[in-house]
């Protein structure tokens, strides 16, 4: 049974392009140009995944509002912001409202598709836990590649997909410095360096909420970031 993706986007060309791409991938696509028409439809039937733009026709923050209401309707529905707005403030408010990811529009369709399929995979795994868990363990860190879940000292860390991939890239080869470009590539995003920096900061904070001593993500100035297992070991 094919999944349904709802696209709420006021720019017709973009909407249709995305819709075409998703249809090619075998998804069912529902397109909406504004919040009211989308909301009407969502009340009768929820999609499997929602792709929202923030600015919708005459509503500058229409996407945020839509996200909030969708989250009320369903707690598990994956919601992705796909927008031209890339300020930290927008990213933070989007994620706070319950979005699962925040992507800027310069992401390539291939990347977008890969990400969407990853989301669905995560959903599937949550529903039917696979028997063979593909896990990566690095000290207190435990990464489940099927569930896209991260645990630190046994406690689940709530990460977005982008953040998950950053942690994954770093932790896969501890001690190796990954520069920003590599991180972007692995996380399937195209953003500038400052955005990577803010992602890293947010990541550290999420881990520090569980363990205030957390210091495994090292900044190597001028080069990039690395997973520092020694400090992780010490913190254990």
């Amino acid at each position: 049974m094919s999944k349904t993706i709802a696209i709420v986007e006021d720019e017709a060309s973009i909407r249709e392009n995305y819709a075409d791409a998703f249809r090619q991938q075998g998804y069912l696509v529902e397109c909406f140009a504004n919040r009211t028409s989308a909301m009407e439809h969502f009340h009768s039937r929820l999609p499997d995944l929602a792709l929202l733009d923030i600015g919708l026709e005459d509503e500058a923050e229409g996407g945020f509002e839509l996200c909030r209401r969708l989250r009320v309707l369903s707690e598990t529905l994956p919601i992705i912001f796909l927008t031209a707005r890339d300020s930290d403030l927008d990213i933070i408010s989007g994620l706070r409202l319950g979005a699962d990811d925040y992507l800027t529009k310069d992401i390539s369709l291939i990347n977008l598709c890969a990400r969407i399929s990853a989301f669905f995979r995560r959903l599937d795994v949550l529903r039917n836990p696979p028997l063979d868990e593909t896990c990566i363990r690095r000290g207190a860190l435990q990464l489940d590649m099927n569930r896209f879940s991260v645990h630190w000292q046994g406690q689940a860390v709530d990460l977005t997909l982008t953040e998950f991939w950053i942690v994954h890239t770093l932790a896969k080869r501890p001690g190796h410095v990954k520069n920003r470009d590599q991180l972007m590539e692995d996380a399937h995003i195209v953003v500038d360096e400052a955005t990577i920096t803010s992602h890293i900061k947010r990541l550290r904070k999420k881990f520090q909420q569980i363990d205030t001593q957390f210091a495994c993500i090292d900044t190597v100035y001028g080069m990039g970031y690395r997973w520092n297992e020694k400090t992780a070991a010490i913190s254990l």
Partner: protein, 716 residues
Amino acid sequence: MQRQKMRIRLSLRQKLLLVSLVLLIIPWVGSRYIHDMENYLRENQQQALLNRAQDVAAILQTHHDLFNSQPVDTTITHRHLYVRPLKSAIQLDGYANDWQMYNKRIERFNDANLLYKSPAYKPGSLKMQQQVGRFSGFLYVLIKVTDKHIVYRDPQSLHLDRDDHLTIAMETPQGKFVRYQLATIAPGWINAHLISNQTEDPLPVAPELRIKGEWQETASGYNIEFRIPLSMLGRRLSFTITDVDDPQSRHPVAVIGSSNNQRLQDLDTIMIPSPAVEQLLERLSRPASRIWVIDQQFRVIGTVGDINADGDDNVDNGEDPAPYANTLLDRLYQLILEQPATEFIDELSSASRLEGKEIKSALSGHKATQWRANPDRKTNILTAAYPVYSGQHVIGAVAIEETNQRILLLQNRAMEILINLTVVALFCSILVLLLFATRLSWRIRQLRNEADQAIAEDGRVQGTITTSGAGDEVGDLSRSFSAMLHRLTQYNRYLETLASKLSHELRTPITVVKSSLDNLDSRVLDDNSRQYTQRAKEGLQRLNHILNRMSEATRLEQTLQSEAPEVFNLAKLIPSCAYGYQQTQHHVIQFTCNAAASTLNILGSPELIAQLLDKLVENALDFAEADTPIIIDITTEMDVIILKVKNQGPAIPEDIADQLFDSMVSQRKQRSETPHLGLGLYIVRMISEFHHGQVLAQNRADCPGTEFILRLPIHH
């Protein structure tokens, strides 16, 4: 520039002070006015004096007998003697000390006044001085004779004229011609003798005891001091001295005197005013003025008063004559203003005959006034003359004299008031102007300072100008400055946000293109088409990169607002960065640190500093010549960390140096692979300002190239 410096810069206050000097025109105009006033005052005085003269003349007309009593003789100009009163009785002792205060009245006779001289006379050997005065019924006379050889009367001789002697020739009140001679056998008390009327060899007839005096020898000759009762005197009188030098022959050598004493009509006329006339004139007199009564022969027949306010003799010279001179200011005025003379020569004080133009005019029936300067030029004297009529005939004239002292005093008083007022007015107005100018220039300076501070050296608007509520031009200026600044701020903000706005607005169309291309890519394409989509994608990539760069600065601004500074050490960060560059760049990156690691603590964000260093190194690399090293250098100086990034390459052009760190300013000439928007150094500046640091760019002194210097405060 040089010329500008040469010019004198005057502040607003100094200019207003200069302008206020125009007020000095007031005292000048005032002094001109006062000088003009002098003419008016003179005319006024002339008129007033003439009026007085007219009044006096009118009164004297009722006493015309006064004029008739004088012998009228128009053919011969007689000497005329107006006998003035003495202040006290004279002690008849032959000494001149009693007469000293009347020295002005001395009449001198010399060779020109010789009535007879023998061939034996030596010129200049005989001189005579005569002083006359009256006091309570007596005429007092002092005759001083200069004579080397005094020949006294021979006691044996009957004659009185065979020796040095004085002859008094006079008219009796009854009109008889009488002569008296005074001679003595030795100095001492003498009496006059009436002598016979025969012209040749007259003999003494009888002693006249009423005429008596003292004969006294002096160093140069002798004095005869005597008195005659006024009751003996008529209207003519003259004194002559006969000089005898040879005691043997006893012939007269010379005769000196005012007139020939042989005939009555040759004698000098004298005028002794009657007490009634004197009293009348006394009543008419006024202080500081003198009244003359003159008959038709210009002879003085009455006079009263003194033109010198201080009196005839200046007796009270010891007292302070001026009404001021009390304060320092008055002394100053005395110095700069012409003062009325307290003492001056009054050449007419002993005159017996007045022959001025105005007198002549009055005697011919026309009133007249005349100004004259007194001989020592200390003062000017005004005379007003008015004719006295008897019926149709002019029988005499009245002349009144006054000095211009009163005018001068008035003028000085006016001048002093003018100077005082002017000084006060000048001082007040200068003070007010100064206050006004100070206030005005304070406001303008305030405005200038605000305007200076409102726009930073690099041209950014960083402050506001408080809008003045004042309704004047300065207020207008401040308001228009404020409005201008406001518009400039808006424009600047627009420029600064242009990049991010642009990047945001462009993102949507780019997404359209990109997603379309992606879709196209996933279709089955022939090789040619795929080649084109590939190229389109590459172009899109570049466009994306540009957009990212453009929004980077804006994003940084947002980051800076939310960034919480922490203390960190540069000693770890910088080498780590340098190591990173060494790994990734072709150029040699040299890193030197001349500071203790412990001192390199700063407050801020390590990521931002790393970003800053990235930008600086990136910039240095872009301009570096091939195979030249980039030098990163850290030193400390007092409380400041100095981070230098140096390269070798083209210098920074002078004109762009100031704005190098501004948004959207780029000095790049050559095109490079990656696009440049001139935002890199703008980011550097923003980060350095976030850390309370300063950043500047300059050309290297040691070799061609540039150095970017970042100064950060050390955190203790």
